[in-house]
């Protein structure tokens, strides 16, 4: 090949790209607005941040001893503070470890680093470049920006998770994308990360997950703690010079009535003059709120109650005290590790689980409330994958106040009580079809079969006589779930209310499994059941007409007053008979277009609407007569017609 040919080929390739005007102008708009760029990369580094609290004892991760040693070394360095300190010695240790674990690195840079004849700066730069070559990009991605210049090396130590991630992907190049294989690869990655964090890195702290806070800390505020809180207020909030603050002589008073410390300290005006403009600039806004200007300087005052709550002295003490008292602090006498041991023992005893099987599971912990004695209840869930809610196996509820195991249970629904099994079935159907009234006849029949089989609901001789029709099934279900005549009002929440009773009467096992069902099937609350109960009172004819008008306007995306002039006729009617209740009572509502509007565009080509509405205000759909449709269904139905 000749150089000219190569040049021509490169030139033709490089000049062959013609970006569209739209793309160019879009790019300019984005840049000028400084909105930043939209990256096309499909996978977020957020997947690495799914870390949860890892509790279970160590088990070896079989991915090769050399790699494991490397991880262990990084974890050890982090524990000793080396990754935070990150001086020359730390960098040398880190780079040596990388080298021992066969990482590729620039030999020239390594030589510069190891040559004691070079200056400290040269050696540190060399180390930064070596680390940057391997981890720089990941660190930058995590920090959300790019630095292109090679000389701008990051100069910070890589996070242990980044270390793991980099090595893992080097050894597992399978793509992670939105395919079954990709998702499997992602699951494998997160599991491996979980085992690393749990067994090698082993962080003994609670990380927040999905907004769920960690365990509340037990606080005992002493005079020293109160003073420390004031110093931190002065330096971190007010931005005062730490040296001046450390020289300050604080004044502390204990108020036995309100059970709180009042701690204050003064910094001289002269010392404030030496501070930067920024700090001085804060004075006007702070004076009279946090800071009082005295003859000789500036005084800050802080209230700290016995539990560590803080406020400024502008807040009334009594108000502050009431606020703190309402903030109940649960009692914790058992730490997370002890709770884990208790849970594991209870699970192994009840379900005969081996130690190996137990160790292979991940565990997460979340506070679920307090009991009467003030003890904090925590729910511990054991699952097979690092990603939460993936293949849950066992659970336990521990009282951290007393150390008592309140409940031990399995997520194997085959071992659940009958009521919970029915609720699981109900939740599955609701997730698939919606509320009960929308289920298909087979699903409805199956629900009835389960209810009869378990004897939870009283049986009726009707079921043995003939194959029941759908109307009769609906009537039976409405009766069984406490809303006779209103099958449209039956949903999972109502089933829970009937099958399990009020929340305060349920045991911890039932409540935990129920919570699991609600989360798994995205059923948001039981409030719905109560709302249904509250809203069960009958509506009058006028309201019925207006409700239907509103529903039609909403479904057809019309202004609310679009049907104001429409004529409304209402009839109270009875639906077909059912075993226990002879009738299903509802309104039939006819809406007719007024003569004055005839000739204008009509909605769906119809000049009138005809719906049924239950006495509790629910606009019915096609429950008993096939040609009945709800307003929303009408929209779909008519939109298909030419």
């Amino acid at each position: 090949m000749k150089a000219t040919e190569l040049h021509k080929a490169l030139e033709s390739s490089i000049t062959s790209c013609q970006p569209s005007e739209y793309w160019k102008s879009h790019m300019v708009r984005q840049i000028v607005k400084e909105e930043g760029m939209t990256k096309r990369t499909k996978l977020s580094t957020g997947v690495i941040l799914v870390a949860v609290f890892m509790l279970i004892s160590a088990v070896a991760l079989a991915v090769g001893i050399l790699v494991n040693e490397y991880y262990a070394k990084v974890a050890e360095m982090d524990a000793s503070g080396a990754l935070g300190r990150w001086n020359l010695e730390d960098k040398i240790t880190f780079v040596k470890t990388m080298r021992e674990c066969n990482f590729e690195m620039d030999p020239e840079l390594y030589q510069i680093l190891m040559d004691e004849g070079n200056t400290k700066e040269e050696r540190e730069n060399a180390a930064d470049r070596i680390v940057d070559d391997t981890y720089g990009e990941l660190i930058r991605q995590q920090q959300g920006y790019y630095i292109s210049k090679p000389e701008d090396s990051i100069g910070v130590a890589p996070d242990p998770v980044i270390v793991f991630q980099e090595r893992y992907f080097a050894e597992h190049p399978e793509p992670i994308d939105d395919t079954p294989e990709g998702r499997k690869a992602l699951l494998a990655y997160t599991d491996a990360l979980g085992y690393y964090l749990r067994d090698v890195y082993n962080p003994l702290y609670m990380q927040e997950r999905d907004g769920q806070g960690g365990l509340p800390e037990k606080t005992e505020v002493t005079e020293e703690t109160a003073i420390e809180a004031l110093r931190s207020l002065m330096t971190e909030v007010l931005g005062w010079d730490p040296e001046e603050v450390s020289r300050m002589t604080p004044e502390v008073q204990w108020d036995a009535e309100y059970r709180m410390w009042t701690v204050s300290g003064e910094v001289s005006a002269a010392s404030m003059e030496r501070m930067t403009d920024r700090r001085k600039g804060m004075e006007p806004s702070l004076e009279g709120t946090l800071v009082e200007k005295t003859v000789t300087g500036y005084r800050a005052t802080l209230l700290v109650d016995e539990k560590g709550n803080q406020s400024f002295d502008t807040l009334d003490k009594e108000e502050f005290r009431n606020m703190c008292l309402n903030d109940v602090t649960p009692e914790i006498n058992t730490d997370a590790q002890e709770a884990l041991a208790l849970a594991e023992r209870a699970i192994r005893d009840k379900y005969h689980v081996t130690e190996t099987e137990m160790n292979a599971l991940f565990c997460d912990l979340r506070p679920v409330g307090t009991v009467e004695d003030g003890g904090l209840l925590v729910r511990m869930q054991f699952h097979t994958h690092y990603q939460l809610n993936q293949e849950m196996k066992y659970g336990a509820v521990i009282n951290l106040g007393t150390g008592k195991v309140e409940a031990v249970y399995t997520y194997d629904s085959g071992q659940w009580p009958a009521a919970l099994q029915i609720l699981k079935y109900g939740a599955e159907c609701e997730a698939k079809y919606g509320w009960y009234i929308h289920w298909n006849p087979e699903s409805k029949a199956e629900l009835i079969r389960r209810l009869r089989e378990t004897g939870i609901c009283p049986d009726h001789s009707f079921w043995t006589l003939a194959q029941p029709d759908e109307a009769r099934m609906d009537a039976f279900i409405a009766e069984a779930f406490g809303v006779p005549g209103y099958p449209s009002a039956v949903n999972e929440a109502r089933m829970i209310h009937v099958l399990l009773g009020n929340e305060e009467n349920r045991d911890q096992e039932t409540q935990s499994l129920l919570q699991y069902l609600l989360e798994k099937y995205h059923i948001h609350s039981e409030v719905t059941a109560e709302e249904m109960k509250q809203g069960g009172s009958e509506i009058d004819r006028e309201s019925a007409g207006q409700i239907v008008k509103d529903a039609v306007c909403e479904a057809w995306n019309m202004p609310k007053d679009a049907m104001e002039k429409w004529e409304c006729t209402t009839q109270l009617v009875q639906a077909p008979a059912t075993p226990q209740h002879a009738s299903l009572v509802c309104y039939r509502v006819f809406l007719t277009r007024p003569d004055s509007e005839v000739g204008l565009d009509t909605f769906g080509g119809r000049d009138n609407f005809n719906y049924r509405i239950l006495l509790n205000g629910t606009v019915m759909d096609s429950t008993m007569v096939s040609e009945w449709y709800s307003p929303a269904e009408d929209v779909k139905r008519w939109s298909k017609e030419p």
Partner: protein, 165 residues
């Protein structure tokens, strides 16, 4: 390479549009050839112009060199990312029209694309942009000896007949 002199202050929108109109095609082609991925190349080009905007202007006589240098470094950054291997490279891009190369060129381009990343970068800068080894070294932030070594390896792979410099 000459050290460019930056014009103080922010460049105007008109100036940015001129830069984009003049260089976006070349940069896109360059990045696409370097990275082998159109979506990535678009990201790099966007990022390059963003930096030009934030820099506050570039002297006109050295703007092309400056933009190429930034784009090449960004390509390197992208390529170093371990996430590189976990990105959907099939993302369809309809904002760009790409002319089909003639068969002879395609054969050569295939060989170039098969080169290791660093060698590919050096070959492109040297044979397409006629950059000297010193300039390439400065642009990519590596030593001249490394550039020489990599270029020699690339020439052997490509079986270049003429002296490349």
């Amino acid at each position: 390479m000459e050290k460019e002199t930056l014009v103080p202050g922010s460049i105007s929108e008109e100036e940015l549009i001129r830069l984009v109109d003049t260089y976006s095609g070349i940069l896109l082609g360059l990045c696409r050839l370097t990275l082998g991925d159109t979506a990535m190349a678009q990201d790099v080009v966007q990022e390059t112009f963003l930096r030009a905007w934030k820099k506050g202007g570039i002297r006109q006589e050295s703007e092309k060199a400056w933009l190429i240098r930034v784009a090449m470094n960004l390509c390197h950054d992208y390529h170093r990312s371990r996430w590189w291997k976990h990105i959907d490279h099939k993302a369809s891009i309809d904002e760009i029209q790409i002319a089909e190369p003639d068969p002879a060129d395609r054969e050569i381009l295939t060989l170039v694309k098969d080169l290791p990343f660093r060698e590919r970068q050096i070959v492109i800068l040297h044979f397409w942009n006629r950059m000297t080894l010193a300039n390439i070294a400065q642009t990519l932030g590596i030593s001249q000896s490394t550039v020489f070594r990599e270029l020699e390896k690339a020439k052997k792979r490509l079986k270049i007949e003429l002296e490349g410099g």
